[in-house]
């Protein structure tokens, strides 16, 4: 896998916790795409019965948030204040800046007989997810960040953050 290090463990018992994947990736856009593809590919190759488009999509969305707003520390308000071009220019600059790009994103994924459990952790400052959830109107879902959150919510069966807000966890129930 390009630009990321993976570690796959398969345990003998087929019913409970039969696959555990731990990946670490640097803070670059291509690396998180590669990480998302490889994790979904591994799960698919192991014969887990799930919707891989859904798994890949939610992985991309949570990894994108970890990259942009976590490790690269790009303010989401920049889009409104200075526009999209300024936002992506800053992303490019910070990907080239070792102080930001050397920060790691860690993906842990476990498959049990009935669900996939996943966590994605970045090395950023975290975010105030309580305030974020309180401030969101269900009808206000048309910005970039809101579209991402909406896609995540449509893919997962449960979603939570750690206290600091730099680790997101989700589960996807497996097909019967």
């Amino acid at each position: 896998m390009n630009n990321s290090n993976g570690n796959v463990e398969q345990t003998g018992h087929p019913c409970e916790h039969f696959l555990r994947i731990v990946y670490e990736a640097p803070s670059r856009r291509k690396a998180i795409m590669s990480l998302s593809e490889s994790a979904a590919f591994t799960v698919e190759k192991m014969g887990v019965e799930t919707d891989f488009n859904r798994l890949k999509l939610v992985l991309m969305e949570v990894l994108t948030n970890a990259l942009l707003y976590g490790n690269l520390d790009i303010p989401s308000s920049l889009r409104d204040s200075q526009g999209e071009d300024a936002f992506w220019e800053l992303v490019k600059q910070r990907e080239e800046d070792e102080a930001f790009s050397s920060k790691k994103i860690i993906l842990e994924l476990e498959c049990a007989s009935y669900e996939i459990r996943c966590s994605v952790k970045d090395q950023g400052e975290g975010f105030n997810w309580r305030e974020y959830l309180r401030s969101k109107d269900a009808n206000d879902m048309e910005g970039y960040h809101e579209r991402g959150i909406l896609l995540i919510l449509s893919c997962v069966d449960s979603l939570s953050w750690n206290e600091k807000g730099n680790e997101i966890r989700f589960t996807i129930e497996l097909n019967e």
Partner: protein, 120 residues
């Protein structure tokens, strides 16, 4: 099962039919590939093109950054009094457009021919 490297790539080509630029998107439109996509369509806009059909039957994956880039391009095209239509999305991609209500902003046609006819 396709190799992960293969699945993360995007291929882009275009042709002009009856004055409309048909852009063929294949593979994955994600945070890793949108920059190239945006840059190539922007070049066409800078060259004076303003009416586009994005033919996406071979687009297998799109994330929120890819969707956002389509919105960004739609705004630029509309600023030039142009029009943009999507043609032949796969079912899971079409469902995503509907989920985030992008089908209200970007018209979706079943075939490339229908999309081209809509310009007439």
């Amino acid at each position: 099962v396709k190799d992960p490297e293969e699945r993360s790539k995007m291929e882009l080509s275009h042709e002009k039919i009856k004055g409309i630029v048909v852009v063929y998107l294949k593979g994955s439109l994600s945070i890793a590939t949108t920059e190239e996509f945006y840059s190539q369509v922007s070049s066409l806009l800078d060259d004076g093109e303003k009416n586009f059909v994005f033919h996406i039957s071979s687009l297998d994956f799109i994330d929120s950054t890819g969707l956002g880039t389509l919105v960004r391009l739609t705004k630029r095209i509309k600023e030039k009094n142009g029009e943009i239509r999507l043609a032949e999305p796969q079912t899971h991609i079409k469902e995503m457009f509907e989920l985030i209500r992008m089908d209200k902003v970007l018209p979706i046609d079943k075939t490339k021919e229908e999309a081209l006819e809509a310009f007439e």
